[in-house]
Symmetry: D2
Subunit: 301 residues, 4 copies
């Protein structure tokens, strides 16, 4: 369980402490507020705060386009138009703050998204908890033989057991020695900022992460994608479910144009036109490399 | 008056439409919400939304520093500590969204602050209103004779009148011709994206501007400063008054450490030590240029 | 002519002052260095400095992907792969610095691209030159009757003349009064930071603009697009010609995947599959609005 | 030794391959180019490319301030003026690209500086080398008893040995098991993106890091500071030595105003004035907390 009883009680109290506000308020998000949504074996995401709703997006667009936008009959249509034409600034008018508990190797991928605000638990300042991510047997995947950054079949039997033993035993030993180095009552102990060096990348950390909706969609497009590593994808998927309740019209447009959409090259567009005219195409005729053609065919299969 | 009766009624309605929320809520900001605070002759700022409060700052700091921060006895002390030591990320956890109406030449200075989200009224898309900033007589300042980007005495008599006439007449004529170029029922009219070229920099525009507290403080430090141009400083000062009601502890720390504080060079620190030891110093002894010494003396005067 | 004789001589001298460097150097860019490429009636772009080349992109990618990238046989293929899969960080390893002279209303659109470094001529500090953009007769377009931010036919005859007269006369008068307000030897004169208010948006300003290749491509995709306003598009096109000489492989990939490419929604992909299977589709069957269907059809026409 | 013979030969070849350029060129940086400067036991920094010099800073400032800046007699004075008054944009006109090899726990601090471009070696894609940071005995510091994020005395004797044994043995074992999990010829092996979880934070990674001079100075101010963790400070100090050779005037101003300077609060300024007037001050009279007063006294000691 990712939360202690004490933490669960604190969350319940936060949810019950309500205020009156004239700000834009979304019922679906109020229900998510503070509640920990479990991810992986010890992780979670929690909505701590949010700003704006679907209307905040169209309101911002209408400031830009003035009376001109009256022709777009409704908010949903306007949001789809903005998404389709990469008018990204109105989506920046919404903001969300999450509390996330996640393994360090996931945090290292996550932080590459620079346009966000972060406060992470400091292992220089404080002592990390003894919590490690150990994959469930069904996620213990072999290296893909075709894709350098992909996974193949799930490991089985003895090999699976051997791998799990390594991960578990090394985590325990690393943490035991971390504690031992930090010292006891009799000993001074190594500085925390040095002792943490011994901890492996599957240890859990946590942070507050605040981001606007445009940059969140960018994160979700890359990290909820089928090619993303499973361990970050599950966080992205949990966030997708929250965003759906927060800004339903914007999320629907995002799903249609980004998550489910596709990018064609000029060569791809040209090839499509010939195919629609009945021509039989191949990589050579399309002027594509084999890799490009393979991806192009997969899109239309 | 910056707002039409219709707009004032819409604002009153927004203020009355309240919701129940479990989010952090600040009474002082609820009172500001939607209300237009007049700035200059036709401009205003309005708070449209906000996220977080003083506690959001210390909460973020406590995630980073864990149990270590318990030694700082209270939130106010922790906020002062964070400000003093340039720990800027906790301040990024608060966010505010303003609706601002401002002259174009002020907007051009404002937009140089890049870490913010903006949706501006588009004169490519829509027609601008006939509203121009004309300085009040007491702000019709002469060029400073000593400071290239500063103001001197207030212009008087005939010269003042001549300047006001130029500004008023040219604004009216430019807008008349803007309208004339846009065409009438009988004429096609010049494209709006071209006709706007004729409008001077004192015409009013408006935008939604969303920014986190850290970057807002940076904006306020530069723009609420005595050296900032008067016409942007009044916007900064109006925002300062709002921020004071939003995050009083953070604003007090900002006022003490940034607005009222001073930056000393290594040479300045060395000079101070000698002065405290009773030595009589001058530019040469301090190893400063005359300009540096003048600023250093002014600080301690 | 955008440059004075004095400036032209200074540029010639800069081009002749050469150094020996072990940095990545691109012959095509060395030829562009410092030379002003004319844009509009008084504007220009000039390359002042650059960092990196096509190899800097693949080198950065190879640091990330290590030996894995050896399978991609050549640099061009790797660059196309990175562009296709939105791996944007390697493109950020190239940087270019331009000196740009441009009308203020173009500068106002340009500056909305926030991830860049800018130093603009300060009309608070210095006096602007008497140079205004006056469109050539063939660019004096009417407002589009179908597109709120587009242009229609070119204005003709008397209306065209009237518009040109307004733009020219108002520019001259505004500048005359700007000068008059700045004062003479006998008069103090209005502060420069105030006098500039009288100047219309077609006056020229200038700046140094430094940007990385990823963000430059983003700028070019939006501003070299057929829907961009003509007056910024010509700057984007001039920059495209420079980039082609700087990083030819990256530019070719950009042209194929971004400038000439297209974004399909999930609905668009589904519709395409049915069309390739021989089905006759329309907006309703595709689940698209009329606007979406129109854009979708235009893509495949 | 941080580099293999093969790598050393490649660097020597890069240094010898020179070109002619008309770009701003700095002799001191040409000498640094490509050469690995050792940091810690296996790390290094290497300059891969640079753009601009001291003159690029003043040139950008002069574009902004026009003829007004002629009054500042020389480049050095202008650079000091810009630094003193927080005019940061001219410093953004210089850019540097480094290749850095560093332990993961250092990389995690480093990456918090968001305004930079990074390409890191991907342990998802490729296999990490068996290289770990093991502190030299003189850096094996105990936890500070007064500062939560500081170091105390150096560990001695048996405790030091025990800590070193933990760090060395656990690193070796973690890497052995990492290799074992990756599989052999007979076995499929665990996916690389999972196997890396077992590696501790003292393993070395590497990246290309590109940053402008303003943001680099911000990084150096925080990381070359006496309160920064030793293991990142040595990187910052190595970079300081490079910057000194690159932009000597800017670095001197940075050293005087930032590294060696001090920030005073309004209360601090007020207290100073009273002290200079001969008054005996203490925390209470100054209206400071004990912590603030302690820091204030330390500054003037």
């Amino acid at each position: 369980m990712p939360l202690s009883l004490e933490e669960a009680a604190a969350i319940a109290a936060q949810k019950e402490t309500t205020h009156t506000t004239a700000r834009a308020t979304v019922q679906g998000m109020e229900e998510h507020l503070y509640t920990a949504i479990p991810v992986l074996d010890h992780g979670f995401i929690r909505v701590i705060d949010y700003m704006g709703d679907d209307s905040a997006i169209t309101q911002a667009a209408r400031v830009s386009y003035g009376k001109g936008t009256k022709s777009v009959s409704n908010d949903e249509g306007l949001i789809r138009y903005l998404m389709r034409h990469w008018h990204s600034t109105p989506f920046e008018m919404c903001e969300v703050k999450l509390h996330v508990k996640l393994p360090v190797f996931v945090a290292r991928q996550w932080i590459r998204h620079r346009t966000a605000n972060v406060n992470e638990y400091s292992a220089r300042y404080s002592i990390l908890d003894r919590e490690f991510y150990i994959p469930a047997p069904e996620h213990l995947a072999a290296q893909s033989s075709t894709n350098n950054q992909g996974r193949g079949d799930v490991l089985q039997g003895e090999e699976a057991q051997r791998v799990l033993d390594y991960l578990r035993d090394d985590s325990i030993r690393a943490y035991d020695h971390y504690e031992a180095m930090l010292g006891t009552e009799d000993q001074q102990g190594l500085a925390r900022e040095l002792a943490r060096m011994n901890l492996p990348a599957n240890i859990y950390t946590q942070w507050y992460w605040k981001v606007d909706l445009h940059n969140l969609f960018h994160f979700l497009r890359l990290r909820a994608d089928a090619h993303a590593q499973y361990e970050i994808r599950v966080y992205a998927e949990a966030i997708c479910d929250v965003v759906k309740d927060w800004v339903p019209a914007a999320y629907a447009a995002f799903e249609d144009y980004r998550l489910g959409g596709a990018q064609l090259s000029a060569k791809g567009v040209a090839a499509l036109k010939r195919m629609l005219a009945g021509e039989q195409m191949d990589a050579e005729k399309a002027g594509m490399t084999k890799g490009e053609w393979r991806e192009f065919e997969a899109l239309l299969a």
